[in-house]
């Protein structure tokens, strides 16, 4: 009984503190406070993302989508309207997740032969990179796979929108890797990146933060990142494509909010 009462008191105190922080943020639009509010409510974004995992989308991608909804909620929440932030944010985040699935439904489906070629290319890239000790050219991939160069290019383009759970699910050792990268994690050194992207970067899984940092701060190639992170080069390419699209969304929203 005492424990229930103290939990309720703690909850009320937390909500009051949040409300005060939202009032401060509404006045100051301070980036650090914004990041703090996003981080404090990240659990809600993750919880809502989990509700959609049975639809075949990788959990990491769903967390990214719901995190965008969370950032939007923090930017738009008016603490004086008499609505709890969690109520407001839940509606906004669910809207973002539903829009994601609706938009995805419009994507052009790649023909089966193209999907199969894309999967074959994944193996060919790994083998050739090892044999040649450099990334293969399209012509070398064409020769190795028996497909024409045009077909290889078509498959690479199709692979960009390929969201098969089997391809993007956590790969063996991913959890250990995420925890190792998390331990090594350091902030992006560049002030410009920190200011623009900080709230969003904090919502990304450790592996995605590491991939962005390796490519855009440390200047590693996709093959070098693949080696370091322990996933395929094509997986790195897919992650980068999606991460950059989500960063563009965040920047567009930041501009809109300001």
């Amino acid at each position: 009984m005492t424990s229930t009462a103290s939990r309720a008191e703690w909850g009320a105190a937390w909500r009051a503190e949040m409300k005060e922080k939202f009032r401060d943020f509404a006045r100051s639009r301070d980036d650090r406070l914004r990041a703090e509010l996003v981080e404090a409510n990240l659990g809600l974004a993750e919880q809502l993302a989990r509700r959609f995992t049975r639809r075949g989308e990788p959990y990491d991608d769903l967390v990214q989508v719901s995190s965008l909804g969370l950032i939007k909620s923090v930017d738009r929440f008016d603490p004086d309207r008499g609505v709890e932030f969690t109520t407001f944010a839940t509606k906004t985040i669910l809207g973002e997740l539903k829009r994601h699935f609706r938009d995805k439904g419009w994507a052009v489906r790649a023909p089966r032969r193209v999907q199969e070629l894309y999967l074959d290319l994944g193996h060919a890239v790994a083998t050739l990179t090892q044999e040649l000790r450099r990334p293969p050219t399209i012509a070398e991939l064409s020769a190795a796979s028996g497909a024409s160069e045009d077909e290889v290019i078509e498959a690479l383009e199709a692979g960009r929108g390929y969201r098969s759970a089997s391809l993007d699910d956590a790969e063996p050792g991913d959890e250990a890797l995420a925890s190792r990268l998390g331990a090594e994690d350091r902030t992006f050194g560049d002030a410009e990146w920190r200011v623009v992207l900080s709230p969003h970067l904090q919502t990304l899984p450790a592996r995605d933060r590491a991939i962005l940092r390796y490519r855009f701060v440390d200047g590693l190639t996709q093959t070098e990142i693949a080696d370091r992170v322990g996933i395929s080069q094509m997986h790195v390419s897919r992650r980068l494509t999606r991460l950059l699209a989500s960063l563009r969304d965040v920047c567009a929203q930041t501009l809109e909010a300001s």
Binding site: V125, T137, E157, R160, W193, F216, Q222, L240
Partner: protein, 126 residues
């Protein structure tokens, strides 16, 4: 005969047409014997160039893309033709600038051709 070869494309400035730009870039990079890492980086860079021209929602008029390549390098120039006088000027966001810095050797915004444009160039890595 010059070593430089060129392909030009023109199509409506719609976001869903970006695949044409990416596929052409990949084909051209393949002709220049780029490795897969650089082909994939170029495709990511083309996305940034395309967003600068067309935005996330699309734009008035047509996108015009010129792909030039030699055995050592690829240069892509994009411009917007047929937009009304009041249309927003073409520009690269800070984020796009930063991303392009990492993906290509050189890039910039150029209005010298009469239509506002963005260009980028990449040299083949050994």
């Amino acid at each position: 005969m010059s070593d430089t070869q060129r392909v030009e494309l023109s199509f409506p400035a719609r976001p869903d047409m970006a695949f044409l730009a990416r596929m052409t870039a990949a084909a051209v990079a393949s002709r220049a014997d780029f490795g897969l890492d650089q082909v994939e980086d170029l495709r990511l860079a083309i996305d940034e160039l395309y967003v600068a021209l067309v935005g996330e929602q699309g734009a008035e008029g047509d996108v015009r893309l010129s792909f030039e390549w030699t055995p050592e390098a690829v240069r892509v120039t994009g411009s917007l033709a047929g937009a009304s006088a009041g249309a927003s000027p073409v520009s690269l966001s800070d984020l796009s600038e930063r991303i392009l810095d990492a993906l290509v050797d050189e890039h910039g915004v150029d209005g010298r051709t009469g239509a506002p444009g963005v260009w980028l160039s990449v040299r083949r890595r050994a």
